[in-house]
Symmetry: C2
Subunit: 169 residues, 2 copies
DNA sequence: TTGGAATGTCAACAAGGCTGACGTATGCTG
DNA sequence: CAGCATACGTCAGCCTTGTTGACATTCCAA
């Protein structure tokens, strides 16, 4: 598997993009790019008492207002204790509102307040700016390929969450 | 910036791939895909006393044998205290060897031992398997686009490190 | 009415970032 | 040679964010 021969030409089809060397490039590209991807919001969050976990929570609450805690848990892939710690501070600081469910009163539905929306906007503006610059530099076809590969890289659970968010909130 | 109008058609050129909606998809794709990207090595590491930080160190030492501590520091983007904690355990466990430099005796050159190479192989086999499946599913053109966008998303420092590793170790 | 689901909370812990301070060995430069 | 800079290691302490385990509460549903 790591003998560097995983991309022999066989069946008459060139698979040079599957060499270990190509795969290693992809791995390192993901590593370095993810750093850039999080750098701008991290800078903003560093000036406050918040971290990346707060950003993620705020992002997905904004994305799907009224989502339940359990729902958010599944998307973020952390324990309820971890998420709860983050949510508690966001609620205490008045950025997130938690409303008891109407049909099922066990559930809590989460919403951003105005200040919460303001923070979300600030963070995602920064992140979008970098994404926009990268998309513009690479061009539409590259962007399509970028999304295809990323989607194929997800665990099936995450892929379902991703496409669900994408195709209709 | 977040008014959803950032992708008007102007100058006669369609920029529909730059809508806030498209950018948000890219952001979420990065988030979900990165989880998949790290999942397999994390599972392996979880069974040992190691974490993601050890994986990163081992990866880049394998990638550039004899690299110095300072060099690795720059690539990983962490403090020397953070890296040192990781390196100390790897050296103590006999996975990494640290040799005093010959020309400059202040420098330490880092190498994987045989057991170190074995671990690196195990981790990168797992990570490559997922990357290979994703590349195969998406196809060569998507892979090219994937790399283009990721490269464009990096900070310039990281981009330099990435291309340097890519074009000639 | 009872079991289970959804939520919240407390405690304890670990990984892995960070800063600051300090020490040592080595290299370079005036 | 003296002095400053560089490379590295280390100690101490802090933060965020993840984990497990235990337990209480609330409420739906069989």
């Amino acid at each position: 598997m790591s003998d560097g021969r995983s991309a022999q030409v066989y069946g008459g089809e060139s698979l040079l993009f599957l060499t270990d060397e190509q795969l290693r490039q992809g791995i390192e590209a993901m590593f370095f790019a993810y750093r850039g991807f999080t750098a701008d919001p991290d800078r903003i969050l560093g000036e406050m008492a918040y971290g990346r976990a707060h950003h993620r929570a705020v992002h997905f609450i904004n994305r799907a207002p009224g989502t339940t805690v359990n729902n958010l848990l599944a998307i973020l892939g952390v324990t309820k204790q971890s998420l709860n710690r983050v949510l508690r501070t966001l609620i205490a600081d008045g950025l997130v509102e938690s409303r008891v469910g109407t049909s099922d009163k066990r559930e809590r539905h989460l919403f951003l307040t105005d200040p919460g929306r303001a923070l979300e906007g600030q963070l995602s503006d920064a992140q979008r700016a970098r994404m926009r610059a990268a998309f513009r530099e690479a061009g539409p076809e590259a962007v399509a390929g970028f999304k295809q590969v990323l989607e194929a890289m997800m665990d099936s659970d995450m892929r379902r969450a991703y496409t669900k968010l994408r195709d209709g909130a």
